[in-house]
Amino acid sequence: MISADSLTELVFLVLAGITVLGALIATNAKRLIRAVSGLAVCLIGVAGLYYFLHSPFVALMEMLIYVGAVCVTIVFAVMMAEPFPERHAKISPLSGYLSFAVAILVFVGVAGLGVKTAWKAAGSTVNSGALIEVGKSLLTTNSMVFELISIVLLLAIIGSVALARAGREK
């Protein structure tokens, strides 16, 4: 007999496993394109975790923006580079003691933060998707951040236009 709790745990473990597996592929793959694919797998796992945590809106946005836009852009950039660029130096991400120590410190710090913070309970049920709350807070409490993001995007667009123009004259 499968209880609901053990099923939930199983789902969580599978999602966490997908995330970790993707991250490992992203850092250990020899071919750049495989690393990006690993990143995509990792991000899909993260999106699944968001869904698991009752926020489908964030999960879908994660898919739409990070997998659908960011990863595609990176793959596109890789295609512009040389074909099948094998990594020349064989460096394992676990080789440097210092980096290992830093990784452990970060892990302990984040885990400690996660355990000790008094988390607020989620404000809405699953099916509402928290869409209205997100919209309201974007246009009231966090409207400053929202406007600043638009300025960053505007700068990025102007920058890319300037770069493209400069390239055309050369």
Partner: protein, 342 residues
């Protein structure tokens, strides 16, 4: 017990959706061949079964018996994963499409967003397949597919946002419920914006381009690129790609049906006294399928009527016409909603 019926319901829907996607792929190929033939004054498939109706079965068996060849120098894992990356998101998108008022696997409130999120994975499949097969035509085709998809995703999303503003929800079933008869279909909802038919046209053109259908099939232009990103795929590898493509066509058409043409609602509306209501007046899956396949028919019709555009023409159409018009429509709709419905 409740958990088990829910589980069974989900399983039944999953099997149904996969069968629906596969059947659609098979019979849209048949429709495509038949329609192309009649447009070109030929007969089309006629030997296998009546009107060639068993042709897809023969094609499927042929594809399954062929060897799956992985070309030398290809990235084996990516090469094999790519077709799945096109088919799986398409099947996942069917989960939230309301075929009738009750026939929907998971009626989530973010249905529209979910379909766009899964559709964005599509490009990744073409890219990985093109790159993984280590073939210059495939790589060129993948690069074209990305620039095309990025260009057409923008007007499509802007139009979708306009529709969400008018409807006030992203739940596909609720959007359909707001369009009970032909005068209230969003394509004719002139009180929301006089440009609604234009918005429908933009959405339809964008869904053609997003699914790489002619006249926007630059990504697999046979005369230049052999078979585009699918050049190196043989047997069922190619078959799965094809199924994914047709599944995406069906999803694009269902979305257009739901957003603009009233989904499963009957165009005549439900008469007040149900006594004389014929079967045709009933809203339901029948109307949804009629509208869906009329749109699919149009998609194929367009392919065999218009020649392939040039690549620059394609990007120009999006950046210089579709995006400005859809942005203007967004502004106009916002203004009209504020004036008439506040």
């Amino acid at each position: 017990m409740g958990n088990y019926t829910e589980l069974l319901r989900l399983l039944a829907y999953l099997v149904g959706i996969i069968a629906f996607a596969a059947l659609n792929a098979a019979y849209l190929v048949w429709l495509e061949r038949k329609e192309a033939a009649h447009i070109q004054r030929r007969i089309g498939p006629k030997e296998v079964g009546p009107y060639g109706l068993l042709q897809p079965l023969a094609d499927g068996i042929k594809l399954m018996t062929k060897q799956l060849i992985v070309p030398a120098g290809a990235d084996v894992i990516l090469f094999k994963v790519a077709p799945l990356l096109i088919l799986a998101p398409a099947i996942a998108s069917f989960v939230t499409i309301p075929f009738s008022e009750t026939l929907v696997a998971r009626n989530i409130n973010l249905g529209l967003l979910m379909i766009f999120a899964f559709a964005s994975l599509n490009v990744m499949g073409v890219l990985i397949g093109g790159w993984g097969s280590n073939n210059k035509y495939a790589v060129i085709s993948a690069a074209r597919a990305v620039s095309q998809n990025v260009a057409y995703e923008i007007p499509m999303l802007i139009t979708a946002i306009t529709m969400v503003m008018v409807a006030g929800t992203m739940n596909l079933n609720e959007i359909v419920m707001q369009q009970p008869n032909i005068f209230k279909w969003y394509i004719f909802r002139f009180t929301a914006s006089p440009l609604m038919p234009v918005a429908f046209l933009i959405f339809f053109i964008c869904s053609l381009a997003e699914t790489n259908r002619a006249p926007f099939d630059m990504a697999e232009a046979e005369s230049e690129l052999v078979a585009g990103a699918y050049t190196e795929y043989s047997g069922m590898g190619f078959g799965v790609f094809f199924m994914g493509e047709y599944a995406n066509v069906v999803i694009g058409c269902s979305l257009a049906t739901i957003l603009f043409l009233g989904g499963w609602q009957s165009p005549f509306g439900v008469p007040a006294d149900a006594h004389w209501s014929l079967f045709l007046f009933k809203p339901g899956i029948l109307w949804f399928l009629i509208k869906l396949y009329l749109l699919c028919f149009t998609v194929i019709w367009v392919r065999w009527t218009y020649p392939r555009t040039q690549f620059y023409g394609l990007l120009n159409l999006s950046w210089k016409y579709l995006i400005p018009i859809s942005l203007f429509n967004l502004l106009l709709t916002g203004a009209m909603l504020k004036v008439f419905q506040s």
